[in-house]
């Protein structure tokens, strides 16, 4: 397949690994932001090809992982109500709330359906006018334009039975939170390529300058990831802290303007709680007041839930690159993908789940 095969080429992977080995002189900690990148690194064993000077730590860019327990509990409560069809991306069904998950709601008779696209949820609403159809609008800047378009479509079609449970999060505020923490170990970022496909990377130069960290927009295939890493290491070794584009076939500096316009129209910034991390100011998007009537939280009056997290789980520190999954006492024992205690074991893109699936426990 064009644009996939050539970026999985073993020859290019080895060329890049050799070049990284030649370039690196000192120890560096580099964070890949996106869970999709974490997953690819583990799947292709890229971490095991790298010289010992380079430590990859895994970022918070997994929306399934960071969606707050409070919102999951709200989803569970709404999905349990009679007359509701609760629609969600498949990744969210297994995410444990305080007591159960969406799968168990379905097993107890709730109408919970997996959709591939938010426009599928719109179709379900059109076909079921006597039911309330709720879409769980999770995701980073990559997913937000699709979810926003479903809101606009619902309005355009005059759908009275469609609403969204919004849990959108944004990358730049999370980078500030990580870099501003006294525990921070991250010296360079591989930025999330598909977030930048939508948003561009004009938000990043001020961050790179403020914290003196290189930021390299990075794709998702093995060659893309190693190229992003090489550009990061070159900057680190030469004392630069610039914003570079390592994924130019998909990303431009400005990003996708039509998508940004729709995001502006539908959403406004809000403070958002991140599972495992806590509240990050101005790190989320919520519906603008013009669309408040489509907000499932108000339609179903579920805004008073106060859940509790597992006291053992260290997912917050894993999500910020302060600790690695294997430093958790519960990893692989009390906490597994079948019975996750926290955010990072929940989704296959979470760092703990990726370590578990690809057998990193054997290597320590």
């Amino acid at each position: 397949m064009k644009y996939l095969t050539e970026y999985r080429d073993a020859g290019l992977v080895h060329t890049l690994v050799d070049e990284i080995r030649r370039t690196v002189k000192r120890n560096w900690v580099v964070m890949e932001i996106c869970g999709g990148q974490t997953h690819a690194i583990m799947r292709y064993g890229l971490d095991q090809l790298l010289p010992p000077e380079i430590e990859l730590v895994h970022g918070p860019g997994c929306p399934v992982c960071v969606t707050s327990l409070e919102l999951i509990d709200k989803a569970l409560e709404i999905a349990s109500q009679p007359g509701v069809i609760f629609t969600s991306y498949g990744d969210m069904l297994r995410v444990p709330g305080s007591g159960r998950d969406l799968f168990s709601v379905r097993a107890s008779g709730g109408d919970v359906r997996v959709v591939y696209s938010p426009l599928d949820a719109i179709k379900i609403a059109q076909l079921n006018p006597d039911k309330q159809v709720v879409f769980f609008a999770i995701g980073f800047e990559t997913t937000a334009p699709a979810n926003a378009m479903s809101v606009i479509q619902a309005e355009a079609l005059g759908l009275k039975n469609y609403s969204v449970l919004v849990s959108h999060v944004r990358v730049p505020p999370a980078m500030h939170a990580i870099l501003g923490s006294p525990e921070n170990r991250v010296q360079a970022f591989m930025a999330a390529g598909h977030v930048c496909a939508v948003m561009g990377y004009w938000e990043y130069p001020p961050i790179a300058h403020q914290y003196k960290v290189p930021i390299v927009v990075t794709g998702f295939e093995p060659v893309d990831i190693l190229q992003g890493l090489l550009l990061s290491i070159r900057q680190l070794e030469t004392g630069r802290f610039e914003t570079e584009n390592g994924y130019p076939r998909v990303v431009t500096f400005e990003g996708n303007r039509p998508a940004q316009d729709v995001l502006q129209r539908v959403f406004q910034e809000c403070d958002r709680k991140w599972r495992g991390i806590g509240l990050i100011p101005a790190s989320g998007w919520q519906l603008r007041s013009e669309y408040a009537h489509l907000d499932a939280e108000t339609r179903f009056s579920v805004d008073q839930i106060q859940p509790e997290e597992s006291p053992i789980c260290i997912s917050g520190q894993v999500l910020q690159g302060v600790k690695k999954p294997l430093q958790c006492p519960a990893f692989g024992g009390l906490c597994t993908p079948e019975h996750p205690l926290g955010a990072t074991m929940v989704s296959s893109e979470g760092a703990c789940a990726a370590y578990y699936h690809y057998g990193r426990e054997a290597y320590g």
Binding site: M1, K2, Y3, L4, E6, G11, L12, T15, L16, D18, E19, R22, T23, C34, G35, G36, G61, C62, P63, V64, Y89, D91, Y116, S117, P118, L119, D120, I138, G139, F140, T142, T143, P145, A146, M149, Q153, A156, L157, A192, H194, V195, A197, V198, F220, V223, Q227, P248, R249, V250, V251, T252, N256, P258, A259, V262, S347, E349
Partner: protein
Amino acid sequence: MCLGVPGKIIEIYETGGLSMGKVDFGGVIRETCLAYVPEAQVGDYTIIHVGFALNLISEEEALETLDLLRQIGELSALPGAEGEAS
């Protein structure tokens, strides 16, 4: 979650006021919303995420990246490249 899959646009049409299209992912064809790539034409490659085209793929940039990477490979294969670099 933010995974995007490259595919080739093989048909463009409008449904319910939205620009839609058929996209070929190496033989698997799916309907995709093209509202965010108004400049798209049949034959263009695009990155798809949750049923939406995020951006068109620039063939020119793709070729340039691959050329640069191949040059790194050729340069490092030259005699003395290891010594110069270290």
